[in-house]
Subunit: 332 residues, 2 copies
C-alpha cells in the first residue's frame, strides 16, 4: 500500500490516551493508505505500540515531552508548551510534514493553536467546529458547535459554505441541505443575528439553503447541515447530550421498578442499539473546518474506533482536495 | 366561599378551546376562591357552560366577538382586533376588573398586548416568559423562554430578580437558586452577553446566584431558576421538547421490534409515568412576569388540568402580593 497521506495523531490527548489512541492508529494503518506520525512521549508511545503488529513504514513516533491539559488556559498553554504533543502535531502540519492533525485533547488549545500555527484558509474569518449531531434520519453536521461564541453574520455564511464542501467531500452527502438554526420556521423569526444571516444565505450561491431549521425539528433531521453561532451550537450539542442521558436514566429507573425487571432484561439489546446510535465513537471526530489543513477534534472520552473513523475522514478530506474546494466556494 | 380574586380567562384561545378551557374553569371555581370572567363569543361560551354545575357567583361571561389566531402578526392583530377575547381579557386587567389573565392563544399577541394594555412594573425593561422545564429533580423555572430574543445584560439581571420572587411566592421554593445558562461552568466561559451578566449577578443582592448552569447539566436540575436571553431559552425549551419526542419514539420503535412486543406491553405504565412528568398540563402555564398584573400563557394544546393549575398559580400570585415584592426587589 502506497502511503501518500500523512496524518499527525496526538498520542497523549484525551481520557483514554495513550492506550485507545495507539490502538486505533494500529488498526487504521491496516485499512487506509496513511502514514501516521504518532506524537507524544517517545518511551511511553513506544511501549504502547509494542503490543501491535503493523507495517513499519506506516507509523513513526515523533517525540513531544509535554502535554496540554484541558484545565489550562488555551492562549497560555500554546505559548508555554511549545513542546507539547498538541503543538508539535500542529507544527508538523504547518511544516507540510503532515496533511492533517487529530487530537482528543483541549478543544480550546486546538483552536487557538490551529489559528496561530496552521492558519486560516484565505477568505475565512473564523474556522468552525463541525459536529455530527445524531437525529432520526442519521445525523446533521452542526457548525459552529462551539469554537466562536460571538459571531458576525458573515461568519455564519462562511460556515454554510465550508459545511457544504465538507459534507459533500468527506461525509458523502450530495447537494447537502443547509438550515439556519432558529426558534421559528418563518423568515421574520429569531434574533438580530439570524435575521440578517437569513437574508444573506438566501442570496448565497453554491449552497442548498432550505430556510430556518426550527429547533424543535432538529432531532427529526430537517437539514444535512445546521448553521449557527458557537454559543447556540454548543447549547444544542450539550443539551442533546444531557437530555439523552437524563431520559435513558429515567426510563431505566421506571422499567426496573418491581414487576418490570424481567421486561427490562429483555430490553437490553434495544437499549444498546439506541446507545450505539448516540455513541460519538461511531461518528469519529469533530473537524475544525477553515484551517489550511484539517484539524480534527475527538471526544475526550473517545476509544479506538473513533480514531479509526477520524483517520478515514482525514483521508477523504485530503484525497478530495477539500481545502481548495472551500477556498474556491468562499471566493465565489 | 368568598371570591376575592378575579381572573379573566380567554375561552377562545388554543387548539382545544372552548371545550377544555371552559371545563377547566368549571373545575377550578370549585377548588379556589376565584371569580372567573370567561371571555369569548357569548353564545358559544354559554352553550359550553351549560354542561356544568357551578356556583353562579363564580363565573361571568364577558362577550368578545373576535379571536386572534397564532398566524396573525401580533402588532397588527392587537391593533385590528380590539374586540378579540385576548384584548378584551387584557383590558379587564388594565381596568382592575380582573387581577390576572390566562390564555392559550397567541404568545406574541399576549406579550405585545400585555405591554401596551397592562403595562410593565416600574423598573422592569422587559417582562419575561417563564416556563417550568422538567428535570431529574422536578423542574426549573426557565426565563426568558422566548419573549425577548435580543437582550441587554440588565434584562437578565431583572429576570433573575423576578424569577426569584415568582419561585418563592408562586412555586413555593424557599431561597431558590439562580443559575446563568452557559456553555461552561467557569466564570470566563460564554459569549459577551453572559460574561457581562455573570459579573452583574455576582453583585446582585436579594438573589441566590450559584454561578453558571452548564447546559449539559440543566436536565439534572442544577438550579431552581435558569436565566438566559429569550433566543437561548426558547432553544433550550424547544430542543427539550423535540428531543424527548425523538427518544421516546426511537425507544418505542426498538422495543416493539419482534421479540420485544411482550416486553413493550408490560412497559406501558412506566412509559406513561415518564410521559406524565413531561406533560405541560401538570405544570399549568407559563407566566409573563414583569407586567403590573399576572398574564399567563397556556400551551396551545393544553387541556382542562392546565387551566386548573394556571388558576391556582394566579391565586398564589395575587394572594402573596407578588407584584409589590418584584417592584421592591427591582428597586433595591
Amino acid at each position: 500500500m502506497e502511503r501518500n497521506i500523512k496524518i499527525a495523531v496526538d498520542a497523549m490527548g484525551g481520557d483514554n490516551a495513550p492506550f485507545e489512541i495507539v490502538k486505533g492508529v494500529a488498526e487504521a494503518v491496516k485499512l487506509y493508505p496513511v502514514k501516521v506520525l504518532l506524537v507524544g512521549k517517545e518511551d511511553i508511545v513506544k511501549k504502547e505500540l509494542a503490543s501491535y503488529t503493523y507495517d513499519e513504514e506506516s507509523i513513526e513516533i515523533v517525540n513531544a515531552d509535554e502535554v496540554i491539559t484541558t484545565e489550562e488556559v488555551p492562549t497560555e498553554a500554546i505559548k508555554n508548551k511549545k513542546n507539547s504533543s498538541l503543538m508539535v502535531g500542529l507544527k508538523l502540519v504547518k511544516d507540510k510534514k503532515a496533511d492533517a492533525f487529530i487530537s482528543a485533547g483541549s478543544t480550546g488549545a486546538m483552536f487557538v493553536g490551529g489559528t496561530v500555527t496552521v492558519g486560516r484558509i484565505k477568505g475565512i474569518d473564523r474556522p468552525a467546529l463541525g459536529t455530527c449531531l445524531p437525529n432520526m434520519k442519521g445525523y446533521s453536521l452542526l457548525l459552529d458547535s462551539g469554537a466562536n461564541v460571538d459571531c458576525k453574520p458573515q461568519y455564519l455564511v462562511q460556515f454554510a459554505k465550508m459545511g457544504t464542501v465538507y459534507a459533500e467531500n468527506v461525509l458523502g452527502i450530495k447537494n447537502p441541505t443547509v438550515g439556519l438554526a432558529n426558534i421559528g420556521v418563518e423568515k421574520e423569526k429569531g434574533n438580530m443575528l439570524v435575521k440578517e444571516v437569513y437574508e444573506m444565505l438566501e442570496n448565497t450561491e453554491g449552497i442548498n439553503f432550505i430556510g430556518n431549521a426550527e429547533i424543535v425539528d432538529i432531532p427529526k433531521g430537517v437539514a444535512d447541515i445546521i448553521v449557527c453561532d458557537g454559543f447556540e451550537g454548543n447549547t444544542i450539542l450539550k443539551l442533546s447530550e444531557g437530555l439523552s442521558k437524563m431520559l435513558v436514566s429515567l426510563i431505566k429507573t421506571e422499567i426496573t421498578k418491581g414487576a418490570y425487571v424481567i421486561a427490562a432484561a429483555a430490553l437490553k439489546k434495544p437499549f444498546d442499539n439506541i446507545k450505539k446510535s448516540f455513541d460519538s465513537d461511531n461518528v469519529g471526530g469533530a473537524p475544525y473546518i477553515g484551517f489550511k489543513s484539517l484539524v480534527m477534534k475527538m471526544h475526550g472520552s473517545c476509544k479506538s474506533p473513533a480514531v479509526v473513523n477520524c483517520i478515514k475522514q482525514c483521508v477523504d478530506f485530503v484525497e478530495n482536495d477539500t481545502v481548495a474546494k472551500i477556498e474556491k466556494l468562499i471566493q465565489e
